[in-house]
Symmetry: C2
Subunit: 308 residues, 2 copies
């Protein structure tokens, strides 16, 4: 008999990862939401509880609700679901808060109805949640939340997601300064054209990063964590960005950049000891400036969403 | 005692490989030049023989001469070299004719003087030959000629070259229609800006291609062989391009595109039988149009330049 209720961990995610704007992402291990999803006789989706963040619970206003409805619309099912969301990821922090909720919802629903949908189909449903959150149905947070590890969105039309090898000693440090940057704002300031020269640098770095991940060459990973296109523009919205990045690298990080559309800043390091040292160095910058922050140190999570 | 003379095979190469403009390249196995490089007491470089193509033999007008002088300028050596070049690659064909000569010269010289230079340093010397040939010191043909297999130029400043895994069953078909397209012309028609949207597609495909090469996923390699940026513009200069590409894919090629700056068109296939079938399909198009052509089927060469 299938379970009628499931409790899942929905990981936070870092999208873009410097060079991979709109295509690369990775899942975190120790940072994420919890959700309980339960079958109901009543049709449709109800968000019956949402703690930890002040977010709408009306189905059509909630990313998990919208993603869940997208799944239901593709499935002949004489019932519905109720969802409890225990948010630990702050909305607007740039570490995939909306993706965690929308992906968690559809992943859990799929488990409860006998897994009729492929992971790729679940990504498509969850992207509807992303469309509600930011106006754009991007997949670079949804994909790593669902597949775990590093993921590449090779193409959006048709959607093609590639799981990338994740070196075992790769740790992420993420610092979230308590300032608000809306995803929609941080997309709007981007230019719609780039120079061919910067483009060449960017695809060279994406190639280098993917090669470094497969060969577990940490130096190459570090050298490839460059972004000549988005970071120079978006970093203007993040106070202290240049100092935080510089201190992270001085403290031994392989590289550092903006997490998703910010304002969180991530760094990747080889090993947990290094990642913690980097966390101290990043924290000191905001301690000095006097900006409150959350900070996380996490292994890169190779499995994605999981049952608790 | 070191040899005073060496005969080398200098492979032809396919640069760009659809999505990797200016960064990706691969070496061919059965297509290439031969060179004899010999130590002399006289200082400097002399091209004493050049067969197969009508190319200048004055040292400063010849890519092997210029590359060789770049090496000599970095080395305290009380002598020089004479070079015989047996061209089998046609100049201007788009399969790395100039890179084969300049890379072959510096690789052979380095062997004869006890290998004081690293492969990366040799790439830099050979790039001076590329600067003479096309006005731009690009490395995307030189790197695969020297390292073999697939290579990625992650960065030009500083120069950073990454060797990529080459799946064993990967074969290339290259057809060279006998029309002239100058590298300098085919660079000039490119736009200096691209849309961010096309950029995202391009770095998604580069990531997919690198991942496909490491995981030996031939389907993924095929899906990633797309170029939304350069091919739509440059293919205008190549008569029959769209038909040749379409017929190659219909015949079973994983993908097809412009080799370097053209006019050669390449296709990649899984296995030699498929690559030969693709060769027939590509040939038929030029047979019908009535354009003369050379056609090559070759394994991807994993070792690069070698001593004969």
């Amino acid at each position: 008999m299938q379970a009628s209720e499931i409790r899942v961990f929905c990981p936070a995610t870092i999208a873009n990862v410097s060079c991979g704007f709109d295509v690369l992402g990775l899942a975190l291990d120790s940072v994420g939401d919890e959700m309980v999803v339960r079958k109901t006789q009543e049709k449709g989706i109800k968000i019956i509880k949402l703690t930890g963040q002040d977010l709408p619970t009306e189905t059509l206003q909630n990313v998990a609700g919208v993603a869940g409805l997208a799944l239901l619309a593709a499935f002949d099912y004489n019932g519905g679901f109720e969802i409890e969301i225990y948010k630990k990821i702050k909305a607007g922090s740039g570490i995939g808060s909306s993706a965690a909720s929308s992906t968690g919802a559809v992943w859990a629903m799929n488990q409860l109805i006998g897994k009729p949908f492929t992971p790729l189909e679940l990504v498509k449903f969850a992207m509807e949640g992303e469309r509600l959150a930011s106006g754009v149905a991007h997949a670079d947070n949804v994909a790593p939340a669902l597949f775990g590890g590093f993921t590449l969105v090779r193409s959006y039309q048709p959607l093609d997601i590639v799981k990338i090898n994740t070196p075992k000693e790769l740790f992420a440090t993420v610092i979230h300064p308590q300032i608000e940057v809306k995803t929609s704002d941080s997309r709007r300031i981007l230019k719609t054209t780039i120079s061919l020269e910067d483009g060449i640098k960017q695809w060279g770095n994406v190639g280098g990063l993917i090669a470094g991940l497969f060969t577990e060459d940490y130096d190459l990973i570090g050298r490839s964590l460059e972004d000549h296109i988005v970071e120079p523009i978006r970093s203007i919205l993040i106070p202290g960005f240049d100092s935080v990045k510089q201190k992270a690298i001085e403290a031994g990080a392989l590289g550092s950049g903006i997490s998703g559309s910010g304002p969180s800043i991530f760094a990747l390091s080889k090993g947990e000891v290094a990642a913690k040292k980097v966390a101290n160095a990043m924290s000191e910058v905001y301690d000095k400036i006097g900006i409150d922050y959350d900070i996380h140190v996490s292994k890169v999570n190779a499995e994605g969403i999981k049952i608790l």
